[in-house]
Subunit: 419 residues, 2 copies
């Protein structure tokens, strides 16, 4: 642990947090400038604007550091979008101001027969059944249909950050009525540190206008890398079918203006509706492996993302990586009849009673140091501890091992899109 | 664990959450009505309005249950207020719409020489040095001066719920511009369950318009008793002196419209500026035992509440009780010169580097089943594990044991106020 016995490191840490207020770094002595640059980098605060601020000093030391570290400022999120609905026109047009800046991946649900319609003006690749068959083959237990089709996009993308939004969601508005740029908010969440080892009562200390409160240990203030950002939903919240059926009129309109790190060893139901993650670090831990026997085409009839979320959270805790939740919101349109889904949903609801205690008590061996290693360890534990309780768990464990193999063979090398 | 194999318990649980939308319970069959009543009670949802709803059914079974359980609808928070400032006129007048409904306790800082001024129209008791000496004597290591004077109020109150607000705080406004009734919000936080064993991404599921999200295990939805509610601060946030000194202009204006349970085994820096707690259950665990050698009269020169907060959180986790944070906000006025405080503050800042790992690894024995038991266990562990690191810890451990003795002798029996 670092003891803050000298004012300089503290001043530098504070300067890192206040970079947005700084317009000129040139008066700084060289060694302090370099130290500030390194701390900025470690804190995930080296945005394009901040980098320009350093470049503007004209100092050779800064230039050589930038070259040495091979720093690139562009961030290119990818958007895999599953589709049940073949006409994406209104969806894409609503997202145009945000998505048109990025390269998109759209994966067509294997069960969808019609051609999909996409308006002009986007930079995108569409993947359909022939592309999937060609890359993945048929010898695997992974099925990219329904909500799980998006995971094919995670597999073939080569971008560091991936953002994924369900196609029944539109951009939301914030509490001042402005359109929420969900991509920017997710990228901010992923590029600023997470603080999973101690709770900060003012929530994300890296948000503008916030900081660590009195009593927060200084040695924990640098935080850890954030690799998963879970966004929320306005209008139709992500409830299960029983809850939605019992509250047919309930819509979520509360704007909670906060991002927070979910503490280490705290599990949560991670929804796949509106998420972003660092593919380089945890890509293989987001996995389409749990498929309910009576899985349907509405969100509340699936548990694939909840399972994947339990896996990725346990893996992040083990690898000392961070998970954030909160902003950004998306506007989620109504779809499906919750009462009709009630019969299917019980399977998923009951399953969590076994799954939660399992993941709460799961500890991974120290030798597991990558997301791939960890997925294999989780899969083996699932087979051993849950395999006898329900056939779904044995199938899931098998699919997780297949997924790691697939990720190693396909996820690591470049691919060309079809269609 | 309860498996939700039948729709009735689910329907009842949902009805409990939706009581605010129900205007007539009389059509319900008797056995369902009684079951709903008991669930409402367990969920902490038996407000005055809801009780009237049950009474309005006119069913004998309901009346006898109310009599049997000795249910009383009034909640009487107590407000201990420490004072550095002898003139409380503007403070009390600002809080009048809220505080005039309740019985207040004001404890005068032992170091304050002047008479305190309090406007008319409040139901209150003021405690000063002679009252404290009479009840506590001088043979104890507990010193009720500075911020610690409030704990004398905690000791002598006989109310179930205690609310405590620093005298440099005024009522805040919500995001619609309405005055925040901090007492009502704290009482809502304390009388609805907490959910420390699994994180709910829509935050407090018992808030109006919210619920448990898809994937949240049904067996954990009943939650546990919430015993501590930590509120937040607008304007001057509760930063330490270094942070405030480095950001002299920073003021908190973000209104985060949320209450959330701090997960089990997650530690946090609990501020004493704006809190409420269930005195019957955790009263003895809020303790004025840590006193810095250079403790001052500004919040950022103290750690007494942070220490107390670490103790109470560890004890709540051990006893399976809940702690919430978030709403309500209070408006905190500027006071003190952070730069002048920097010299004193280092002691507290450095201390946390020892304290946090200690509390994170602390496990209490199963035999400790009350807050008093737990405080004794924590005190013994502090003496053993931290005692040799700094004399402040040995003094604190001794004061904690004295506090439990004091609570047993004074905290349990009735007292009459002086002056």
């Amino acid at each position: 642990m670092r003891t803050p016995s000298c004012l300089l490191p503290l001043t530098l840490d504070s300067a890192v947090l206040n970079l947005s207020n700084i317009t000129d770094l040139s008066p700084l002595p060289d060694h302090i400038l370099i130290e500030l640059f390194l701390r900025t980098l470690r804190a995930g605060k080296l945005t394009e604007r901040v980098l320009k601020l350093f470049i503007a000093t004209g100092k050779d030391e800064v230039f050589s550091l930038i070259q040495e570290l091979n720093i690139q400022v562009t961030v290119n999120p990818v958007l895999p979008t599953r589709t049940l609905n073949s006409d994406l026109t209104s969806f894409m047009n609503a997202w145009r101001p945000i998505f048109s800046r990025f390269h998109l991946i759209i994966v067509k649900d294997l069960d969808l027969k019609e051609e999909i319609k996409i308006p002009e003006g986007f930079n995108l690749d569409v993947y359909e059944k022939p592309d999937i068959d060609r890359l993945v083959g048929t010898s695997t237990s992974i099925i990219f249909s329904g909500y799980a089709c998006r995971y094919f996009g995670y597999l073939v993308s080569r971008k560091k950050y991936i953002i994924s939004v369900d196609d029944d969601c539109l951009p939301a508005k914030d509490n001042k009525g402005f359109l929420v740029d969900a991509v920017s908010q997710h990228i901010t969440n992923l590029t600023t540190p997470a603080t999973p080892f101690f709770f900060n009562t003012l929530y994300d200390p890296f948000t503008e206008g916030a900081d660590f409160v009195r009593g927060y240990p200084f040695s924990l203030r640098s935080g850890v890398t954030c690799v998963l950002s879970c966004g929320l939903w306005h209008n139709l919240a992500d409830y299960d079918a029983p809850t939605q059926a019992l509250k047919p009129e309930e819509r979520n309109s509360r704007y909670v203006d906060a991002v927070l790190t979910v503490p280490a060893r705290t599990l949560m139901p991670i929804s796949g509706i509106n998420i972003a993650f660092n593919r380089d670090v945890v890509g293989p831990a987001l996995l389409p492996c749990l498929r309910l026997a009576a899985e349907g085409k509405f969100r509340w009839e699936t548990m694939e993302d909840i399972w994947s979320g339990m896996c990725v959270k346990v893996i992040c805790d083990h690898l000392r990586l961070g998970v954030k939740t909160g902003l950004p919101y998306v506007w989620r349109n109504d779809r499906g009849d919750a009462i009709a889904s009630l019969r299917k949903e019980w399977e998923g609801v009951k399953m969590m009673e076994e799954v939660v205690p399992f993941f709460q008590s799961l500890r991974l061996p120290q030798e597991a140091t990558t997301a791939e290693d960890c997925v294999v360890e989780v899969a083996n534990a699932v087979k051993e501890k849950l395999g006898s309780k329900d056939p779904v768990f044995a199938r899931t464990a098998k699919a997780m091992l297949d997924w790691v193999k697939l990720w190693k063979s396909v996820g690591g090398c470049s691919s060309s899109p079809g269609a």
